[in-house]
């Protein structure tokens, strides 16, 4: 099964970085959609079905916390797995994210293998018991 992903980040550079990391990490990657803020993400999700959302918190118009609330309040999207990729480091904010039932959290900067681990855990992909090879890059 192909994994379709939505990346929500106001930085085009970060969206490109995450896409690159996904292509290195996820063998069955399907469509990768991009949105630059929460409003654009909701519009994208109205038109496309995805298996996973990777989102930033600090974004204009509708930020990541507001987007999470909208997703959880929407019966069609309430169980959609969300991984937050952000600079946020406060315990209070991480507790808030936990309350929203996020599937994972990565703090920027992250390494491609960290993204792979989080995605594999969520999508229950098998690594065939082999150790994961670091691919050298830092993000």
């Amino acid at each position: 099964m192909k994994l379709d992903v939505l990346i929500v980040d106001d930085s085009a550079t970060i969206r490109a970085l995450i896409t690159k990391a996904l292509r290195l990490s996820v063998p069955d990657l399907g469509d990768v959609h991009e949105a630059s803020d929460g409003i654009a993400a909701l519009a994208m999700l109205a038109d496309h079905t995805v298996d996973l959302v990777l989102m930033d918190i600090n974004m204009p118009r509708l930020n990541g916390m507001q987007l999470l609330k909208r997703l959880r309040d929407n019966p069609k999207l309430s169980t959609l797995p969300v991984v937050v990729i952000s600079t946020e480091g406060s315990q209070e904010r991480l507790a808030e994210l936990d309350e929203f039932g996020i599937a994972g959290y990565l703090r920027k900067p992250f390494r491609p293998e960290q993204l792979r681990q989080v995605v594999n855990q969520i999508m229950e992909f098998s690594d065939d018991g082999k150790p994961q090879e670091p691919d050298g890059g830092d993000f």
């Binding site: 490109a16 600079t87 920027k108």
Partner: protein, 159 residues
């Protein structure tokens, strides 16, 4: 070196070495910065303030190139130079505020603003982002031998 300057340079070093993978130095005396691009980001938490960055266009393009894994001459690096500088500022500020205030404190970050220096009128009028902003620290470093200046402004405590 003050605690804030130590935190600022430590955060910059960590981000540049781990995120951008460029060689960082703090040369003495500090070299002149060819200010062609200016970026800033405001934070609010136990204290409010602003972090600014000023550098040449070539360095901004080099940041984008390193992050994207393309040549600095690649059109994509030039197109995403400002965006990349803003994201570096975002990651830097997230790292810095955790160092300064600790992870028990919630600090809100604004969306970074990056503009060509010639268009950054608001920055020239009020570089610290507030009429009573105090320049707390400033440092000039080089990333792969290209100079860049960072400033940390703090706003009055009773805001």
């Amino acid at each position: 070196m003050t605690a804030n300057l130590k935190n600022l340079t430590a955060a910059i070093s960590e981000i540049v070495e781990e995120f951008i993978m460029m060689a960082i130095e703090i040369p003495e005396p500090p070299p002149a910065v060819d200010v062609e691009t200016i970026g800033w980001l405001d934070f609010s938490g136990p204290r409010q303030g602003r972090i600014t960055v000023r550098c040449g266009n070539a360095l901004a393009s080099a940041l984008a190139a390193n992050l994207l894994g393309v040549s600095p001459d690649d059109a994509e690096a030039g197109a995403k130079a400002g965006d990349a500088l803003g994201e570096v500022l975002n990651v830097l500020c997230g790292n810095l505020v955790t160092r300064v205030f600790g992870s028990q404190q919630t600090v809100h970050l604004s969306v970074p603003t990056v503009l060509p220096a010639c268009k950054a009128q608001a920055h020239r009028d009020q570089p610290g982002g507030h009429p009573e902003a105090v320049l707390e620290e400033a440092c000039v470093l080089t990333f792969d031998d290209q100079p860049v200046e960072f400033r940390l402004y703090l706003w009055p405590e009773n805001l």
